[in-house]
Amino acid sequence: MLSFDGVRKSFGGRRVLDDLTFDVRPGELFGFCGANGAGKTTAMRIALGVVGADAGAVRWNGAEVDAHSRRLFGYMPEERGLYAKMTPLDQLVYFARLSGVRPREARRRAAEWIERLGVVAGPKDHVEKLSLGNQQKVQLIAALIHDPAVLVLDEPFSGLDPVAVDAMAGVLLQCAREGVPVVFSSHQLELVERLCHRVGILRGGRLVAEGTVSELRRAAGPSRVRISVRDVSPAWARSLTGTRVLAEEDGLTVLELESDRAAQDVLATAQAAGRVEFFGRQEAGLGDIFREAVGT
């Protein structure tokens, strides 16, 4: 398990991380969300030892992460970095060697990953000749080539086309299935909602929300229902108790409920009043939860 335990960091008097505490469990995909400058990248850099924490610690299976355990981590930084004048294969072998993989094995794995992710490049093509999407794939392989025990990815989906997004998502899910804790940051909230087991929302260096999307939804406020009833007076919903009308448009009414019991009352009242054409729960999306959490 990867744990952030009361991590604090300031740059030049400006607090960037404030008592950041959360866990990423084995086999879990953890989505790290936050507005720009919320501290996501700094948190990830601290986990990888690229930047030191002012206080607190990042732990791996209970022990503070050190240079040795860090070599087991796979990391993809937000700012992509590859050697422009090296072939993808040589580059990946080099990164694997730095993580302690034997040369022959490194070469085998690099070739296998290049094939698996479909990196399009000639055997002598330098990275600078590759398309951005292919460079991104090489960058992901660099994070995966040593069979990491933990995966930390900063904005892995940015700049990818939908096909590449699916390929990347597939790889992350596969890693999680193999028991690897995966934490990644993203601004693509629908993707985070679709993929992640749990989500953490960061605001001003503090974790303001954390849990599964359903948990966050519940925590975000009362549930809502959408109902469409024919042959009733337009203001039929106003008389309902335990509810609040949020919107009425074109025969479709959106109601905020004080409790789950109220949903049944609403349906019964509507059926008594007219012909119910549609009745359903309106789920708050991660985007709504996020906006609420970060206060925009």
């Binding site: 850099r45 030892g49 690229v50 860090r70 930084p77 992509r80 970095g81 590859l82 730095l98 302690g100």
Partner: protein
């Protein structure tokens, strides 16, 4: 175990640098161009030396045995049956001048002043002999009487020529190493800046420590530079011996070995400075701004060889320069080639150099580490040092 892991990481970083260098066309071009230039200069030296080295040759026409005999003590004499043959020999540069029967001297362009004096003296001697013989003197006696005995020369410093040759070899060697160090330094500074500007450094620092990177780079580029030096030395010494420029090849090889011994710590010192400078910039275009002071310091290290080659081997300034870390790598081996240096000075210079490297790696390593992840223009050294503390 930890030490082995550290060494392995350094080896992997170093191996990448070596392969990168050996695959670099500029690397091989500099070996070939330098060697070719040296070989060409030796060839020219050999040709020029060949021209002026031996005694001049003078052709003598007709029955001028007395003149020929008088000339033989100073020049090589070739006899020709007629003026036509002598004229052809002068034109073909087989002789520097030809003495014709009437006393006329034939040359291709102009008569060398010394050769002119020799010919005039030979003509005078021949005239005196002929006059004495006409007065009845016996031929053998007159020649002996009028031919001065050979000069007996005693040299007080027979080693001077060898020392001069050694000094010149060392001077040229230091200059070549200086250029190589400059190229390596520029290479490492650009390499570090490239890793920083392309953000690879973030991936690297997640896997290795900054000092692994720094040490690996220095070792790798150093090994590549040594390959370059070895190839250049073999080719250059081979050419020098082949063209006969070196009269004491063994001495030159000894000088080259000593140069290399001093080059290694000098290289480590300067290349570390270049690497640290490279870590302070965020864009490769800014590399030239930050390496300026390192360039200046490196230029200063040519002071020692310049003083020694100019003939001031016993100069007190040279003594001081050959002891100062950063300057001693170039000054001391040239000084050692030129003159006898007290052993304690050699030891002190080396120890000071090693101490300076130890301090530099400690402080420079921190600046390097602190500079690598700071972006925006040129990072100040103090800021990088403070950054490394976090």
């Amino acid at each position: 175990m930890k030490r082995r892991a550290d060494l392995e990481l350094i080896r992997v970083v170093a191996a990448r640098e070596i392969v990168r260098q050996l695959r670099n066309k500029a690397f091989w071009a500099s070996v070939i161009v330098t060697t070719a230039m040296m070989a060409l200069s030796f060839a020219l030296t050999g040709v020029l030396k060949g021209d002026g080295d031996g005694p001049p040759a003078v052709g003598v026409v007709g029955d001028r045995s007395t003149v020929a005999a008088a000339l033989r003590t100073d020049v090589t004499v070739k006899e020709y049956p007629d003026a036509g043959a002598a004229r052809t020999a002068v034109r073909d540069e087989q002789v520097d001048a030809a003495v014709l029967p009437g006393g006329e001297v034939l040359v291709l362009r102009r008569l060398d002043a010394d050769l002119g004096r020799v010919i005039r003296q030979a003509e005078q001697t021949a005239a005196h002999i002929e006059q004495l013989e006409a007065l009845g003197a016996r031929p053998g006696q007159t020649a002996r009487a009028l031919t001065p005995p050979a000069l007996r020369v005693s040299a007080l410093d027979v080693d001077a020529a060898a020392a001069q040759e050694r000094t010149m070899t060392a001077g040229i060697g230091v200059f070549l190493l200086f250029v190589l160090m400059l190229l390596s330094g520029l290479g490492i500074a650009q390499g570090v800046a490239e890793e920083k500007s392309s953000r690879i450094v973030e991936v690297l620092l997640a896997k290795v420590r900054a000092w692994h990177l720094l040490t690996g780079k220095i070792a790798g580029l150093g090994a590549a530079a040594l390959v370059q030096i070895l190839l250049m030395t073999i080719a250059t010494l081979g050419a020098a011996i082949g063209f006969g420029v070196l009269t004491a090849p063994l001495g030159a090889i000894g000088t080259a070995a000593n140069l290399l011994l001093w080059f290694v710590p000098g290289y480590v010192l300067f290349v570390t400075l270049y690497a640290v400078a490279g870590a302070l910039v965020s864009r490769q275009e800014d590399v030239n701004h930050v390496i300026g002071p390192v360039n200046m310091l490196q230029m200063l290290s040519l002071t020692g060889p310049a003083l020694a080659v100019r003939g001031g081997a016993d100069d007190s300034l040279l003594t001081v320069v050959s002891l100062v870390p950063g300057l001693s790598w170039a000054a001391m081996p040239v000084r050692m080639a030129a003159t006898e240096v007290p052993w304690w000075q050699v030891g002190a210079a080396f120890a000071l150099m090693l101490a300076a490297i130890a301090v530099l790696i400690r402080v420079g390593g921190r600046v390097y580490q602190g500079g690598l992840l700071r972006y925006g223009g040129i990072v100040k050294v103090g800021e990088a040092l403070r950054g490394a503390a976090h």
